[in-house]
């Protein structure tokens, strides 16, 4: 039973992070390898706002989310906007370089030691019982947040005006522009949503188990989840995250705890061999070089 609970929590973490990758890729065909570092930035911003608003945690969280979403939009406007039309390698490397820059800056501003935003906000993390299993409060919050985010995104992309426009821009950017859709606005929106979900994940994880410099590593492990499901499919990200999380938890428990860092990539390799475009991805993605 505890295994199942662990799988659900890990799958929620991975899928919340993975939808960030999927959002940006689906809309602008850019792979944002700085997602982990931006997530970390969001969590550290929570630390900063926590010291400002330590009386009202809700306000601190809201402020941090606002700040990090703004940071995501700024990343697009100042940097990625200028990389439209460049080669795949150049765009990926720009995000990688950005990630490195953000990581360096974060360590400089805050120290590399482990931090505890939960303490700064004076909130506790009691363990709840769920049948025979134990789960911490913030983990429950994470699972619920993940569900809420996915429902919201499904509805928005399917039925919302701008969601439709985002999908259109992802399929045919030139036609979208010719139909009056402001591509830069759509891309900025995608980056904002992606950073929003990413920092939400980062903050919840930090509140649950503390904040360290290794937060981006988790994002790197969530990336195979996005790929397994198909880089341009949200539903696929959910499914992919579940598969990767299940594999990881079970193999750690039954085989070898050291495997935890490499299992997502083994799953990734397996999927790349069998079905490179992921479970629900569109096949044409493969030939885009």
């Amino acid at each position: 039973m505890q295994l199942l609970v662990n799988i659900v929590v890990l799958a929620s973490i991975y899928s919340l992070i993975a939808c960030g990758y999927v959002l940006i890729y689906r809309v602008s065909r850019v792979l944002n390898l700085a997602h982990g570092e931006l997530m970390m930035l969001g969590a550290y911003l929570l630390l900063a706002t926590a010291s400002l608003f330590n009386a009202t945690p809700a306000l601190a969280i809201a402020a941090a989310i606002l700040l990090s979403t703004t940071a995501g939009v700024l990343v697009y406007v100042l940097l990625m906007r200028r990389m439209t039309g460049e080669t795949v390698l150049a765009a990926i490397l720009t995000t990688v370089a950005l990630g490195i820059l953000v990581r360096g800056v974060v360590v400089l501003i805050w120290s590399p030691q482990q931090q505890y935003p939960a303490q700064a906000l004076h909130v506790t993390n009691p363990t709840l019982a769920f049948g025979t299993a134990h789960i911490s409060t913030w983990s429950v919050a994470l699972v619920l947040a993940n569900a809420a985010v996915y429902c919201g995104l499904f509805v928005f992309l399917r039925f919302g005006r701008w969601g439709m426009r985002m999908r259109a821009a992802g399929q045919n950017p030139l036609l979208a522009a010719q139909r009056g859709i402001n591509l830069h606005g759509v891309y900025a929106l995608a980056w904002a949503l992606s950073t929003f979900t990413g920092s939400a994940a980062g903050m919840l994880m930090a509140l649950d188990s503390g904040l360290t410099m290794s937060l981006p590593v988790i994002a790197l492990k969530a990336f195979p989840a996005a790929l397994v499901g198909g880089l341009d499919s949200l539903g696929g990200a959910l499914l992919g995250a579940s598969i990767v999380a299940a594999a990881e938890v079970m193999l750690i428990y039954y085989v070898d705890p050291l495997l935890s860092d490499v299992i997502p990539f083994l799953v990734l390799i397996a999927v790349l061999i069998v079905r490179p475009w992921g479970l629900f991805g569109t096949r044409e993605e493969l030939d885009r070089v």
């Binding site: 439709m164 259109a168 399929q171 036609l175 139909r179 009056g180």
Partner: protein, 261 residues
């Protein structure tokens, strides 16, 4: 009243390839203007120059001006140009393939209030109303062209740019489309700039036409003048006068064509 005025434009791809040079044309309100020419003449490039390039092709209008109702259009972003009322129906990739027909019509951004625009689209193309929930990528060629024009109508254009109306379509469907375009022009007063390889279709529809070759305009005139012009008849309408000739004669004649300018 002149809606669109293109004045001596030069379009260069990748900073070295001149696709269009010294092209001047104009479209008046409610007029249907045709742009004829063979492959590679620069017609699509001219239309793309008017409707705006997206950084992808590394193309720029390097000389000349494009003015729509007095304001400059050259080298602006495509969505700004669409917002002013100049909307393009492209030659390839003219619909959003993974969206349904209805979503294709909801996605574009209209100039003003979009209420009722979709009804207008279904009014001109009733077939689309039946296909509302079909994925656009699964439509037939004719239906796709209808959806493309309808998608452009939703943006409430004042000037419609159509690239290759009849390419790959059966003649019956082309007739249908032509009838609808004439209806659109008369009911909504929208001007149309039509690029066509099929001179017959173009000269059916257009009030006035330009002939392009190698990036320049070589001939222009109203419908009657062009239909009666011997060179247009020979090279575009396939109505050679006299008996059969050998290819060698034709080739020689080509060199002394009576193009103006």
């Amino acid at each position: 009243m002149t809606l669109l005025r293109v004045d001596q434009i030069e379009v260069i791809y990748k900073r070295v390839i001149t696709a269009v040079q010294g092209v001047t044309l104009s479209v008046r309100e409610g007029q249907i203007v045709g742009l004829l020419g063979t492959n590679g003449a620069g017609k699509t490039t001219t239309l793309r120059a008017i409707s705006g390039f997206l950084g992808i092709d590394d193309a720029r209008v390097t000389e000349g001006t494009i003015a729509f109702q007095g304001s400059r259009l050259d080298n602006r972003a495509p969505h700004e140009i669409a917002a002013r009322g100049v909307v393009l129906v492209p030659e390839r990739e003219k619909v959003f393939p993974n969206l349904t027909v209805a979503e294709n019509l909801f996605a574009p951004v209209a100039r003003a209030n979009a209420r009722g625009q979709h009804e207008l689209a279904f009014h001109f193309f009733p077939r689309l109303a039946e296909l509302r929930s079909r994925t656009a990528g699964l439509l037939s060629g004719g239906e796709r062209q209808m959806l493309a024009i309808a998608g452009a109508l939703v943006c409430q254009p004042k000037l419609l740019l159509i690239d290759e109306l009849s390419l790959g379509l059966a003649p019956a469907i082309v007739d249908d489309l032509m009838r609808q375009l004439l209806a659109i022009r008369s009911e909504l007063g929208i001007a149309i700039l039509l690029v066509e390889q099929s001179a017959a279709v173009a000269l059916e529809l257009a009030d006035y036409a330009y002939v392009m070759e190698n990036g320049r305009i070589v001939l222009d005139g109203d419908r009657k003048r062009l239909k009666d012009h011997q060179d247009v008849q020979e090279f575009y309408l396939g109505q050679a006068r006299g008996e059969r000739r050998s290819y060698r004669d034709v080739k020689q004649y080509r060199r002394s064509r009576r193009w103006y300018g």
